[in-house]
Amino acid sequence: MFSNFRKETGIFLLLLGLCIVVAILNPRFISATNLQNTARLIGMYGIFSLGMGLVIMTGGIDLSVGSVFALLGVLLSMMLVDWHVSPPLAVFAIILAGMILGSIHAFFISRVNLQPFIVTLCGLLFYRGIARFIANDETKGFGDAAGVESLKQIGVGNFLGVPIPFLILLVLAGLLWVALHRSIYGRYIFAMGRNEEAVRYAGINTRRLIASVYIVSGALAGVASLVIAFYTNSVSPSSHGNFFELYGVAAAVLGGCSLRGGEGSVVGILLGAALLQVLQNLVNLLGIPSSLNFAVMGAVILIGVTADQLLSRRHTA
């Protein structure tokens, strides 16, 4: 708990410092529009980063989420435009589909004992291919039927000036925080990340626990795919959601999750997701060539985790 707090404080200070520097260099950073827009993006990326963080806490990984966004985005368009499915039902179906994909991963990981990296890498390739195939490799839109127009608020709407995706993130993060940091479930997850064998010897069904994190990650990917699809307002199956899984991993790792498992926190993941979006924003606002976008992100993540490693080494020494 103490080390979590320390990590969260560290990344919070990094985030705060970065915000102050950017705000000084370009005051447009704290304009209402920019803040609103950044918050929307934090919400969008934060939702699936929570799922990724949960998976990483068990020592696993979920590389499939980017392709899941493409596949579910294409399905969403087809449901609304081609099959005229009612909007609430479509929302339900997409989240359910996300959970089903998660269950498939869970089956291969916890029952067939394949490595999470491999199973979800296959998912990454497979779902992308299926998405392109069923969309005939064409960009899909959502039309402008009345019900669909209000559904799009999930991605582009505001409530009292706060972007809806950001609100969704806060609600989901609150639920996950209780589950991870206050409930039996979370206790088991952290204990399993430290020593799976000891948890099994305590009479706990570790397979079911492992399966559960991929299903939760799938459900969160389902929610995120709705937000992303309506935010972009069109789904181009070959590029929609590309690399998003890596943003999730980056947010979780920046937020203090260890890829070995057993470490991390919901607040940390939120701060990690926020930091990534502020970095994106910084590149835009400070006139850094956007081609350097990934390079900036890579450098900051590396600096962040290196600093953490060096500080924790001194702390334990």
Partner: protein
């Protein structure tokens, strides 16, 4: 002093600077190959070896025998350069040597064939033999000369009767053949002394016979001496030129070739007073049977059927040598590795145990052998370790009631007297602070108390202890014995698997002794003796009166 010829193995002793005191002046004409004098080794406060001496002659097969924990492994690790002795001297052909690493031992011609083989399955036979010493060509490129390596390898494996191409993948070989690869590796390093540690534990009777023949051949034709460590006394009887016994980290005596009999060897291994206080209260022979196993079969010994029962309030000891199948019984009863056959009865009715949760639902809990790996999440707080199996009792709708969990953990820490280094610090520490410390901050004995605390909060009906005091200091041992007896006095049925002779004789009401998957006998208190346990443990029957 003449320069040793290239063939002499002392020619490889460049690791050890010519020792000015010993070795220089007078090398006795027939110095023994190896001499260990007055070796002392302590781990913490525990003396693993006190003043042990051992001599191995040229072309001699010396068998080293002793109970589990008698100090055999420690002595061999000193010889292998793994541990440094605290006192004592090691002489090779009369010259004092210092073994600082395993490679020092190798350069002196000392090779080990371990119980767990170290053959790399992803390399071929030749690659294993020459690992780290591959013949190369191409100068600085150091490319492996496969042809030379195969030709050389063939020279070593053919005389051993390993009739295979040197490019066969070692992973495809049987255990017996992998052992031959290790022997070939030892010979290729000009080994003069090969230490075989329980070499036949995984071999079939036929393979065992072949290995014994080969061992004699190594002695007679290759002039290699062997230290042969085995619990199988019939093998020792068949092969040893001399037997040396260890007991409690001390020399227990030697047997010359003509004196080697099973009786003499058993006497050498045992024969001391039991120091654990034997309890005076008799258990109630009319108490109901709590747990019964009928024809239980485990994955390791699929063809052996094991039957026994434990009454409420009784401690049933399980004695036997390492690998006798005792842990497998405990794991079957707890559902970690479910039984492959047979029935388990709990309070007279048959139960299915397929998972640990099944066992727990019947009040059967396991304190596992390897507490660091299976018993505890070491980096988590003691409190979270204690409450792990029982969190449901401190939760509403899945949300943990932190105060109650904390109180339970503190109570357990106090009740079991879990002591932490924190308490020795400034101002000491209260139970709450101890409970918040990570489990790894505790000593072995206190860690074991935490493992036990997990289950005590859950009203145990049957407790399975697997080597509960391994790596535990003497003081904590006594506390754990008191806890076990106290639990039994409160009606808990206890299964106590232990390789510690004093422990199993001192704490048990009855002792089931296992040998290679079978229960060879169940001793009542009147038949308790180290000798009886040891006889059954090596597979001998007792004279008449003790029923199986």
């Amino acid at each position: 002093m003449s320069t040793p010829s290239k063939q002499s193995w002392t020619g490889y002793v460049d690791v050890n600077q010519p020792d000015s005191v010993s070795g220089s002046a007078k090398i006795a004409p027939h110095s023994p190959l190896l001499e260990m004098r007055g070796v002392v080794k302590r781990f913490g406060g525990v003396a693993a070896l006190s003043n042990v001496s051992l001599t191995v002659g040229e072309s001699e097969i010396l068998a080293l025998i002793g109970e589990n924990g008698a100090g055999k492994s420690t002595l061999m690790k000193i010889l292998g350069g793994v541990h440094a002795p605290d006192a004592g001297e090691i002489l090779v052909e009369g010259r004092s040597v210092h073994l600082r690493s395993t490679s020092d031992a190798g350069k002196l011609g000392i090779a080990f064939i371990h119980q767990e083989l170290s053959v790399l399955g992803n390399l071929d036979i030749a690659g294993n033999i020459f690992l780290g010493r591959e013949p190369t060509f191409g100068g600085p490129l150091k490319l492996i000369s496969r042809r030379t390596m195969f030709e050389e390898a063939r020279k070593y494996i053919e005389p051993l009767g390993l009739d295979m191409s040197p490019d066969t993948s070692a992973g495809l070989l049987s255990i017996a053949h992998q052992q031959l690869v290790e022997i070939a590796r030892a010979l290729s390093q000009n080994a003069r002394l090969i230490i075989m540690d329980e070499p036949t534990s995984s071999l079939t009777p036929r393979e065992t016979e072949r290995l014994l023949t080969l061992t004699r051949k190594l002695r007679d034709e290759n002039n290699v001496s062997i230290i042969y460590i085995s619990h199988r006394l019939n093998e020792v009887e068949a092969i040893a030129d001399r037997v040396s016994g260890l007991r409690d980290g001390q020399n227990a005596g030697e047997l010359a070739k003509s004196e080697i009999t099973r009786d003499a060897m058993v006497r050498l291994m045992v024969g001391r007073d039991i120091r654990v206080a034997v309890r005076d209260a008799e258990t109630d022979q009319n108490a109901p049977v709590r747990l019964e196993a009928r024809g239980l079969q485990t994955p390791r010994y699929p063809s052996e059927k094991v039957s026994f029962s434990v009454r409420a309030g009784e401690v049933l000891g399980f004695a036997g040598l390492v690998g006798a199948g005792r842990t497998e019984i405990a794991q079957a009863l707890f559902g970690i590795a479910p039984a492959t056959g047979g029935e388990i009865y709990m309070d007279g009715s048959p139960v299915q145990v397929k998972t640990p949760a099944d066992a727990i639902s019947h009040g059967v809990y396991l304190i596992p052998e390897d507490r660091r790996h299976s018993g505890l999440a070491l980096s988590l707080p003691i409190r979270e370790n204690i409450s792990l199996p029982n969190l449901g009792a401190f939760a509403t709708l899945g949300i943990i009631r932190g105060q109650e969990e904390r109180k339970m953990a503190e109570d357990m820490v106090t009740r079991l007297n879990v002591r932490s280094a924190l308490q020795r610090g400034e101002g000491g520490a209260n139970a709450g602070q101890v409970a918040d410390a990570p489990a790894q901050s505790l000593s072995g004995g206190n860690q074991q108390k935490v493992v036990l605390a997990k289950w005590l909060a859950m009203e145990p009906k049957t407790l399975l202890f697997d080597e509960p005091t391994r790596g535990v200091d003497v003081g904590a041992k006594a506390e754990i014995y008191d806890l076990i007896r106290g639990l039994a006095a409160n009606g808990v049925a206890v299964l106590l698997i232990s390789s510690d002779m004093e422990e199993v004789l001192g704490v048990s009401d009855r002792i089931a002794v296992m040998h290679e998957g079978k229960i060879t006998g169940i001793l009542g208190r009147t038949d308790f003796s180290e000798e009886n346990v040891m006889r059954l443990a090596v597979g001998d029957a007792l004279s008449g009166k003790v029923a199986g």
